[in-house]
């Protein structure tokens, strides 16, 4: 209580109350504001866990070496309660009051969009693995870097695969939620479909957080399309699949931007998750070598052992963000944010997440591997070099499963 | 005598019920007109129709020779029609003085725009009805009899030409009734015409110049108080019902 009163006094009279701050002199503090409560807390936790997990791992290996000084990493994390305005204020607080050295990102494109204005304003670099919308990187900001593949290309590999399927789907329905990320996905997908010669029979934007898809599903059924591509949020996708079953809507293929790689999607749907296509820029493969974890498979195993659930690409992307900052600081040889920023821009290293090298606009480009739920497990079916495992195609009618 | 208020064939229906049925009468300049009738006779509805809180289903209401049937309540108030409520409704959170000041700020002719002046006028009205000592109390802390006076003071602060009193004497004891009668008589001396709705027949008889009787929403008598009260139909409607 007295500590609270002190903080109150500190806040009111501008005397920055550093006394209660845990950072020691040789700590390099990374700040982040993440959704720990509120509607997207479900995905927000991947970032919280991945950040802490990676920081601990790096510290176990001795921390980071800047110039000839050894630093331990520390994390200062706030819960933005899924509120964009609060997250903007928390990032400001991280920089100007908590004096963190560098920033990690929040989850979701709309947050990254707003928060990147803060990092730009204070010229402190932010590496974020939660926002993929092309909008974030089209503002010519210099201090924002992203480790998710561009939203516009999420369906790129899927469309490529569709051309090679037998029989190849001729018509699709494209559904997308009306938020920044999903609109970017839809805008990127339309030309891909056109180039592939696939007709878009139904092109519908829907309200984020919609729970009733019966009308849209009935339209899909009536249009009799071969494939359905949905860009949305996990809860919408779950509703979509369950309602598709209850209305006996079974196109030859359906694919979703989110959900499929994550464990709770499969848990929530049980057997009904089968046949769902999705994509992931990351799979826990032993081929992805990493300086701190060995490889991605080892990372996934240790992560699951620690937190009790499987990491997906959000978690891997979050881990890569921490590694990117660590490597950049070592390369820069100083904690000066501007120097670190320049070092981030020049980064090029292999990580558990893939090769980290940012393009001119600050975004990374990773190929999306098409995945599919097969017998309750995620299988990689199509990658840069063509088919990996045989896709289960076409999807049978619901009553024939 | 010229008519201030002319009510012509006014009817008001509620769902399945005729509260006021084809009633016509006039209120003359400087007159005190008493309106009596058993419960549910439509007296309060009549006052609401004249003050504009209810719209008539049919008929016309004219004030100083001009039809006001289509005017909203606040415009009628600005023309000079003031009313009190049977179920007393002061502005409970305001002081007694400010309750009355609202009347002075709005009221007849649009009222006084300066708050200090309005309060002066209000204080004068409180003196007039004998509430000056309660001026700074909250209105909802007043007792029943004082609230009746407050209703009067609020209406008077509007500087009305016509005052509609809805049972300002109900629930008062004899001494208090006499005081109110005295106040109303002095109001009339200011040249204000008054329509008084009352249950207390004795009081209204001594106050009214003329008496009008409503029964089941219809006018059954209108004239000199003594003559009206001895009318057989009135006795049956009014007293007969009482005995029943």
């Amino acid at each position: 209580m007295s500590n609270m009163t002190m903080r109150l006094a500190g806040a009111l009279f501008g005397a920055v109350a550093l006394s209660s701050f845990p950072a020691m002199a040789e700590d390099l503090v990374l700040g982040a504001s993440v959704q720990l409560t509120g509607p997207v807390a479900n995905t927000g936790r991947y970032y919280k866990d991945a950040y802490q997990f990676t920081i601990d791992k790096i510290n176990e290996a001795g921390g980071v070496k800047v110039g000839d000084k050894q630093y331990k990493l520390a994390l200062k994390l706030y819960d933005n309660q899924s509120d964009v305005n609060l997250s903007v204020r928390q990032y400001t607080q991280l920089i100007s009051q908590d004096k963190v050295n560098l920033l990690l990102g929040p989850f979701a494109s709309n947050f990254a969009l707003a928060d990147s204005a803060v990092s730009e304003k204070y010229q402190v670099p932010m590496v974020q693995g939660g926002g993929a919308s092309d909008q974030i990187f089209s503002r010519k900001f210099k201090y924002i870097f992203g480790t998710l593949a561009p939203a516009s290309n999420y369906f790129g590999s899927t469309v490529k695969m569709m051309k090679e399927l037998d029989p190849a789907p001729k018509s699709v329905a494209l559904l997308y939620a009306d938020d920044a990320f999903d609109v970017s996905v839809a805008e990127g997908t339309r030309p891909l479909l056109k180039d592939a010669g696939i007709t878009v029979a139904l092109d519908e934007r829907y309200t984020s957080n919609a729970s009733d898809f019966n009308s849209l599903l009935s339209q899909i059924k009536s249009a009799n399309v071969d494939a359905v591509l949905v860009a949305g949020h996990e809860t919408e996708i779950l509703n979509f699949v369950r309602q598709a079953k209850s209305l006996a809507v079974a196109p030859k293929l359906y694919s979703f931007t989110v959900g499929v790689p994550s464990e709770d999607f499969r848990k929530a749907l049980g057997k009904d998750a089968d046949y769902a296509f999705g994509m992931s820029a990351w799979l826990p493969s032993a081929d992805l070598k990493d300086k701190y974890f060995g490889d991605a498979a080892a990372f996934a195993e240790a992560y699951k052992a620690k937190f009790g659930y499987e990491p997906d690409y959000h978690a891997a992307s979050g881990a890569a963000d921490v590694e990117a900052l660590a490597q950049a600081v070592e390369a820069a040889g100083t904690l000066d944010p501007k120097a670190v920023r320049d070092a981030i821009a020049k980064l090029s290293f292999d990580s558990l997440y893939g090769k980290i090298a940012f393009a001119e606009n600050g975004q990374i480009d990773l190929p999306q591997t098409v995945i599919q739920v097969q017998d309750g497990k995620v299988a990689a079916v199509y990658g840069a070099k063509g088919f990996i495992e045989k896709p289960k195609y076409p999807m049978p009618a619901w009553n024939a499963r | 005598m010229s008519a201030v208020l002319e009510i012509t064939n006014v009817t008001r229906r509620f769902a399945g019920l005729i509260a006021v049925n084809d009633v016509s009468f006039t209120l003359n300049q400087g007159e005190i007109l008493g309106v009596i009738g058993p419960n549910g006779a439509g007296k309060t509805t009549l006052v609401s129709l004249i003050s504009g809180t209810l719209a008539p289903t049919a008929g016309d209401i004219a004030f100083e020779g001009r039809s006001i049937t289509a005017l909203p309540a606040y415009q009628r108030a600005r023309l000079g029609i003031g009313r009190t409520f049977q179920i007393m409704r002061p502005f409970p959170g305001l002081s007694v003085l400010d309750n009355v000041a609202v009347g002075a700020l709005f009221g007849h002719g649009g009222g006084e725009s300066d708050l200090a002046r309005a309060r002066e006028l209000a204080r004068a009205q409180l003196d007039f009805v004998g509430l000056a000592k309660f001026a700074d109390q909250r209105a909802d802390e007043l007792g029943g009899p004082s609230r009746k006076r407050l209703e009067l003071a609020k209406a008077l602060a509007m500087q009305p030409k016509v005052l509609l009193c809805d049972e300002v004497m109900a629930g008062l004891n004899l001494v208090e009734i006499d005081e109110v009668i005295d106040v109303l008589k002095r109001v009339r001396e200011r040249g204000i015409s008054i329509l008084v709705i009352e249950h207390v027949i004795k009081a209204i008889k001594s106050l009214s110049d003329r008496l009008l009787v409503l029964h089941h929403g219809e006018k059954i008598a209108d004239g000199d108080p003594d003559a009206v009260l001895s009318d057989a139909q009135v006795v049956e409607a009014y007293l007969g019902r009482r005995r029943a």
Binding site: T37, R45, L175, D212, N214, S218, L238, N239, Q243, L269 | -
Partner: protein, 287 residues
């Protein structure tokens, strides 16, 4: 034509679910004059309860509904008796604020207790459907619809014919009327709120079989319930059923003919229009 028939069926079935969601809200509002902003949070809790019963005890969600309803009834009773009865006579803002506060508390407690993960109640028949020619009727929704109609009619009979029901209806007119029926007002208030919350709990169980539950679904469900209660009117459960159906059909048709982002414009637009032109609801008595 087949599409239109299918959309109408969807709308009607959705409407049935909507009706149960709003039933308790309308009861509490109409009788206690409490606008319960936490209503959706109670639906959410009911959903979690059903989910636990199904997942850990293997109780079918439809068979588990009475258990959910009774447990939620008790919660509602205690809350009204212990908390809300304290502010029954306070100004209107205050009842709005306190139920808003409750909503926040329940939502955060749910997140602490159940985590932010989505939960679905997915019994084997949940996804199956009956084909009527070209039109498909989802079984779970049909059952939910049946339960909705049964609850609505049951509520209506209860209010009309039981002694407690009559006391509740009398209380809607007049605060102390309960005494005339020999019921202590505090108890009657708590009973009424308990029934309202019990109904919300049942709605949550049904909701879980057709959609998924997370701690944050409450606010949206409260808003929907408002629209339904207002459109249907507060004084009659049958009105609420009509309100639910009207809203379900309007939303489905809007998505078909206007676009999938216009569902909310339609439902809340209708709500505003009903409020302005028929403030006592479509079936309510006009003033």
């Amino acid at each position: 034509m087949d599409l239109l028939a299918q959309i109408l069926i969807n709308g009607v079935l959705l409407g049935g679910l909507y009706a149960v969601m709003a039933l308790g809200l309308a009861l509490v509002w109409g009788v206690l004059n409490i606008v319960n902003l936490a209503h959706g949070a109670f639906i959410m809790l009911g959903g979690y309860l059903s989910w636990h019963l199904y997942t850990y005890l293997g109780i079918d969600p439809f068979l588990g509904l009475p258990i959910t309803a009774v447990v939620m009834f008790c919660l509602g009773y205690v809350l009204q008796r212990g908390v809300l009865n304290l502010i029954v006579r306070a100004p209107m803002f205050n009842t709005l604020l306190i139920t808003f506060g409750l909503e926040v508390v329940l939502t955060y407690l749910a997140q602490l207790a159940f985590s932010a993960d989505f939960r679905t109640i997915n019994p084997s028949y949940a996804g199956s459907s009956i084909a009527l020619g070209p039109v498909v009727v989802p079984v779970a929704r049909l059952m939910a619809f049946g339960v909705a109609v049964a609850l609505t009619v049951g509520m209506w009979l209860f209010l009309l014919h039981s002694r407690l029901g009559r006391a509740i209806r009398a209380t809607a007119q007049n605060l102390v009327a309960a005494r005339l029926y020999g019921v202590e007002p505090r108890h009657l208030y708590a009973m009424t709120f308990g029934i309202g919350i019990g109904l919300a709990g049942a709605a949550g169980g049904l909701y879980g079989t057709v959609s998924q539950i997370d701690p944050y679904i409450g606010a949206t469900l409260t808003a929907k319930s408002f629209a339904i209660a207002i459109i249907g009117g507060l004084d009659n459960p049958l009105g609420v059923l009509v309100g639910g159906l009207v809203l379900g059909i309007i939303e489905s048709l809007t998505v078909l003919y206007v676009g999938a982002t216009f569902g909310d414009v339609a439902s809340f637009g209708v709500l505003v229009l009903v409020l302005i032109f028929r403030p006592s609801g479509l079936l309510g008595k006009t003033a």
